[in-house]
Symmetry: C2
Subunit: 344 residues, 2 copies
């Protein structure tokens, strides 16, 4: 089969790899129908040290089950399924409390002999826990939005849920990438009254407005903080979803949150230390969030995708073939593309 | 009247000050019956720069209402009342959501012309919102535990509540001071199954066991972390109340919390930056807590004090007169006294 492999910063190649085979009786082989490039793939694309072995890329995909191991009972060959961006047994104690991202038998695609999602086929470990059957045909026009359940929509939703968004809240979403835009959808879906989107790319913030953002702040730093405070009567917002991951965006969050408010972080932090001293304590600020247990949310969000109530697939602004993946990494890095959908 | 005033590190004096008078129609004058020295008073006792003017000390007190302003209707002269450690109107939007510590008309004792609690009388601003009538006589043996509602018990409870302690949880309390011990009471009251108390003073941790601690860890640093993990099957605890405020105790919290767990901080941080990088995100750790809105909890906790179900007043291990307050600061600093109760 053919798949995308990263050999270092700026070096993604499409190459022939062995067809995946069942290794454990809990595995399934999925023939990929659609996949995509993630904002988090861009971090190694900018910084990964060169290597001879390479790392299979991609962790968001849906496809058709081709073969199942002897212990798999929840899906069968021919099923169209979506995979959350980490695999999990969905039965361990962490999974039972909705933290599938910490599953005791879980892991990440592209590591430990498991294929990446940017390839023609994937061996999916813990298939019974991981894969969710989709009640549509592979040519459904809902496919992009169903693919978004694999990561960005579940991640944005995790941000809104952990930030504690409730009806009537004011919410700030920092970052106009695909996750930030999905967080706008999620905040609106949970009843937020005011949704301020902080971002500088007009085409993206325009989409954010269509998703439910009531205000857009293009300014950054102190100026951006002042603008958000102006928009919220001076006190700041109740809930923040921070979907960038830089120290500057964290400081924007602390500068715009109201006393007693909650900041949820989704972006992988590009820093080790943060400003969690006396001010955070005096003001009772909560810092939460993390890697989304996307598997936990698929059943909850899917009905709204199927009904058309939410359309997270609109974050895909380019559809490409596998051969075009290396260029998509560069186009997304250069902000020429928001998120590329790969069709197989 | 006579009151305790701090003039710098190690310099607490008892001196004559003007008797408090009603300034605003929302004020009340309270004649102090009992007060105490707080662990947080020891930070300026160690570090406050010398000053000529001095700062009236103390913020935990109960007493008898002597006089009320024209607008005060909830209490009257002769009532025995307890005051939470910050005053508040208890009606603003922050108070309405249970964040009396951020009240729009609130403030701290000993600042802005308001007396401290370690003195014979106190002008209490926002008396209607602040003061809570006690259904006992001034000679009640419950007085120490009712005084604890002013700060330590409400603070320990805030830690357990914001950490999200639920029946069956494992909880770690870091710190065997009066707040840590109160957090043990609170965690047990909320149904925690395992309560590990981290502290090195046997007399205090013994009291912690009586309050409900199931395990005591005297070790610190990596050794302490390993001990707590051993006690919890390797995974760490569900909830942590951090009642010390040092960087080392924060690191102990991050080292012992389970994936998806919550760390609530109560100690005033003696640091500006904390380790909130990738590991916190990968493990979905929540950092919360802060200054307790003690006023919010008084009605909830008082029945359990009156019934004897909880006895937080046991943290007072010495009863002193006002003249003995300067020595009590030193004795508490030297860990000869856990918490001193001042009787007037």
């Amino acid at each position: 089969m053919r798949a995308a492999v990263m050999y270092g910063a700026g070096d993604v190649r499409i190459e022939d790899r062995p067809d995946p085979k069942i290794v454990n009786p809990t595995d399934a082989i999925v023939r990929t129908v659609a996949s995509c490039v993630c904002g988090s793939d861009l971090w190694p694309y900018k910084s990964m040290p060169a290597t001879d072995t390479g790392r299979p890329m991609g962790h968001e995909f849906l496809g058709v089950v081709e073969e199942i191991g002897a212990d798999v009972t929840h899906v069968r060959a021919g099923d169209l399924v979506v995979a959350p961006f980490t695999y999990c047994d969905n039965t361990c104690d962490y999974c039972a409390k909705g933290l599938q991202s910490s599953c005791r038998h879980g892991g990440r695609y592209g590591y430990d002999g498991v294929d990446g999602g940017q390839g023609e086929a994937v061996r999916v470990p813990q298939a019974d826990g991981t894969l969710v059957k989709l009640p549509v045909e592979p040519d459904s026009e809902l496919l992009p939005s169903l693919l978004a359940l694999s990561d960005v929509m579940g991640t944005g939703h995790h941000g809104a849920v952990t930030a504690g968004v409730r009806p009537g809240d004011s919410v700030l979403v920092i970052g106009d990438g695909a996750v930030g835009l999905s967080a706008v959808i999620a905040a609106k879906r949970l009843g937020a009254e005011q949704i301020v989107l902080m971002g500088r790319h007009t085409d993206r913030t325009d989409l954010g407005r269509e998703f439910g953002a009531t205000d857009v702040v293009a300014e950054r730093g102190e100026e951006g903080i002042a603008r958000v405070r102006d928009l919220t009567g001076g006190d700041g917002v109740d809930r923040i979803v921070e979907a960038v991951g830089t120290r500057q965006s964290l400081e924007a969050a602390f500068g715009t949150i109201t006393d007693g408010g909650t900041i949820s972080r989704l972006g992988v932090p590009q820093y080790e230390e943060g400003p969690v001293g006396a001010s955070m304590i005096m003001r009772n600020i909560t810092l939460t969030g993390g890697v989304s247990p996307a598997r936990a949310y698929i059943e909850e969000l899917m009905p709204d995708v199927l009904s058309g109530a939410i359309r997270p697939g609109r974050v895909f602004d380019r559809t490409i073939t596998l051969d075009e993946v290396p260029r998509a990494y560069q186009d997304m890095t250069d902000r020429r593309v928001l998120k590329a959908l790969i069709r197989f």
